[in-house]
Symmetry: C2
Subunit: 458 residues, 2 copies
């Protein structure tokens, strides 16, 4: 009962990772976790995994406190993350500003374990419970952990399957690259994206299930099932050989050159500053926010969980202003699908700028700006006729540090009207994106998520 | 009189950049600047371009001063660079330390203009005069400039040929990538490496000359002719199709994975601190240094030049401890040349670590350490028999900010004895390095310099 959505054209012996990944994408149901059983399993995870999250004043946080000198908010152990101040200085066009920023020195692992069942690659996904998520459970990578997690700062909590991702590994690495976190909120944070194939037996765990890439891509079309982290790792899977047949609108060197140009142009500098002296932001008893309510708040929460080893803790969370939008415009040139990327400067970027989707914003943050200073293509995307919308679903930001942070992702097909695009935007093919994703820091979190979603349309 | 060193096997019509670059490498003399005329021209540049550099107390610097609060040394305009303090924190193996560091927010351009003469690509090289260099003039990229230079902070000094490297450009980009500066001394500094081909006429300038790649590679074998910057840019030139025939010892993914592993392992954090409170370093009237004299000093210099538009100025310079060594070990596996790279953590690296050559150090800095804590392969390299030394020459660090900083570069062929290498070292092919160099921050300055030198052996 390995059900393929299309006639398989791959030879049965295709043994390289590319061919086997493509083959797994064509398998849209599997006896390992049949689709009709998945829904029941996932619903049961959601019923079991419920957090009670209560906002509390900062003063009631356990083991978290404000540094009396700088005002930064940190854990007493010095681990996890801290909330600090950031001053971004750039040229006149970008301007300068200050904001709170999450600082986390550790490089986290986002790792998916894969294994063949009956000759088809399956991906081990975790029904992961995080306090910040609406509906709580998301289908996440097998392992989503920082060193603090797996070296015991969490006081003895063990991370299932972590042994496949730390030395000495025995499996085969299909993906291993550092990719940026959400750089509007995190300072120079990056995660290690890993996909490891094992040939051995893998013990079962009630919160984990094996799915084919075809099953995962079908689930991407439903609201709030897959986490953005899962999409981001899946986006990095090696693709097949070039499918753009040299018909890309721009050479790859021109695409990466645009990013060099942006980085050189704006002379962005990042300075950590005391959180207590972050202009335009104020600290109240229970939130750090701007008087106009824009961008985000930092809040404190008490979390009670039934199914976790640690049943009760408190922590700060970053709560973005609601209404996040991400839009990817797509069209065909010479018969080859292209997508429109935006070279975006983000406050906490490791290296000034990365490619984001065409639009990535919370429109309300720009409500009082004149039309010409609002994000490019936002109006265009918001007014797109429904028949042009190829993909439309809501995904959540990671819920261990973000609170009720949802983004509506849409892929919109455009006509011939956008051959010419402004400086800082560029049309690229899926094959070119695949080549960029073998390296670090070309595509931001939202763009990587879109890459996985884009593949789900095939 | 285009003299080829070998029978050309390239078709005469090879018009892609790869083929034309390889063709230029085979041309070892040229009527545009014949070899016998080059020496006279370069000697004349050296006679004309003489700096008188006098060490002065910091108090005598014009327009540079110490911040009374932090002790940082900066230019009154806020441009150029500043000398600040850096605290590096890492795990137990790497340790933590403090040091002065140069901070420069701007991304500099290192750009070489190329043009065909009689069907052969020639590279426009500048006889560049810099105060810190012994013998002063080095053969450098066409343009070596920061925004301060070409936007007029230097008070009207113009940069010849800069128009080929800033928008709107008319030439064809052969190379455009950001690469790191010397990360032991610079905080997160990077330069834009560019090679631009023009079809148009290019005005002559007495300090510039056109050379083929074959001529440049011959010059690399002489001490102190080419600058490391020139080598670094030439290293980024696109190579031909894969020449390792899939016989590389490791897949490229394994190579880049090693760098991910190192970055994740050590949890390196960089904190800017007041220069005045940098442990183990002291500020005297005329130098910032360690009592044991290790690593480097920051000094102040008064510079008089005869041939510059600005005839007289003063500035700080970083003077490394003498005796810099860089060694690249090489051997063949399955008939294919490999080189041994070291995944190196450097204090100011943008992203923790990059690949450096096998050895990169000033041995005297380690004189009081037990043998097992000295750099790996240093003893091995220092005791290598002379017949194994494929390349041996002295190159200078950039002389606008470094004083009398010379490094002896050696490429040493090893026998069968080094098939097994320690963790953090990896054997890679020249073709793999070429693929890494299309992206940023894989190879450090010294490793990139070696790539150009390695090509000069062909």
């Amino acid at each position: 009962m390995l059900i393929s959505s299309t006639e398989s054209t791959a030879p049965a012996t295709a043994s390289g990772p590319h061919g086997r990944i493509a083959a797994s994408a064509r398998v849209v149901d599997s006896p390992v976790m049949p689709n009709d059983r998945f829904d029941a399993w996932f619903a049961a995870r959601r019923r079991r995994g419920v957090f009670q999250v209560t906002r509390i004043p900062f003063a009631q946080l356990s083991n978290w406190s404000f540094d009396p000198r700088t005002g930064s908010l940190a854990h007493d152990s010095g681990r996890f993350f801290s909330v600090e101040g950031l001053r971004v200085e750039a040229d006149e066009q970008i301007g300068s500003w200050e904001q709170p920023i999450l600082v986390q020195r550790e490089i986290g692992i986002l790792g998916i374990l894969v294994r063949e069942f009956d000759g088809v690659l399956h991906f081990l996904m975790q029904a992961k419970l995080e306090p910040g998520n609406t509906g709580a459970v998301r289908l996440s990578p097998t392992v989503q952990a920082t060193r603090s997690n797996y070296t015991g700062v969490h006081r003895g909590r063990t991370i299932p399957y972590i042994e496949h991702f730390v030395p000495p590994r025995t499996g085969r690495l299909l993906v291993d690259s550092l990719q940026s976190e959400r750089s509007a909120w995190f300072l120079r944070k990056r995660n290690r994206h890993m996909v490891v194939e094992t040939k051995g037996g893998v013990p079962e765990h009630e919160d984990f299930c094996w799915l084919t890439l075809g099953q995962l891509r079908a689930l991407m079309h439903r609201d709030n099932i897959l986490s953005m982290e899962a999409c981001s790792v899946l986006a990095c899977l090696p693709g097949g050989p070039a499918d753009d047949g040299g018909r890309a609108l721009h050479e790859l060197g021109e695409v990466t050159s645009l990013l060099c140009e942006i980085k050189a142009r704006y002379e962005v500098a990042q300075h950590r500053i005391p959180l207590a002296r972050t202009a335009s932001w104020r600290r109240l008893d229970d939130e750090i926010s701007r008087p106009d309510g824009k961008f985000f708040k930092v809040i404190a929460a008490e979390v009670h969980a039934e199914s976790r080893e640690i049943l009760h803790w408190s922590q700060p969370l970053l709560a973005p202003a609601p209404g996040g939008h991400a839009v990817l415009l797509t069209r065909r040139f010479h018969g080859v699908r292209h997508v429109l990327l935006h070279a975006r400067v983000e406050a906490g970027a490791l290296d000034v700028a990365e490619f984001g989707p065409t639009v990535q914003c919370t429109p309300d943050n720009y409500r009082d700006l004149p039309a010409e200073r609002r994000p490019r293509f936002l109006e265009y995307a918001l007014s797109a006729p429904v028949e042009r919308v190829l993909y439309d679903a809501v995904l959540s930001e990671e819920g261990a540090r973000f609170h009720h942070a949802e983004v509506r992702y849409r892929i919109i097909e455009v006509g011939d009207e956008l051959a010419e695009v402004p400086d800082e935007f560029v049309w690229v093919t899926a094959d070119q994106i695949g080549r960029l994703l073998r390296n670090s820091y070309y595509l931001n979190m939202q763009a990587r998520t879109f890459v996985a979603l884009l593949h789900s349309l095939d």
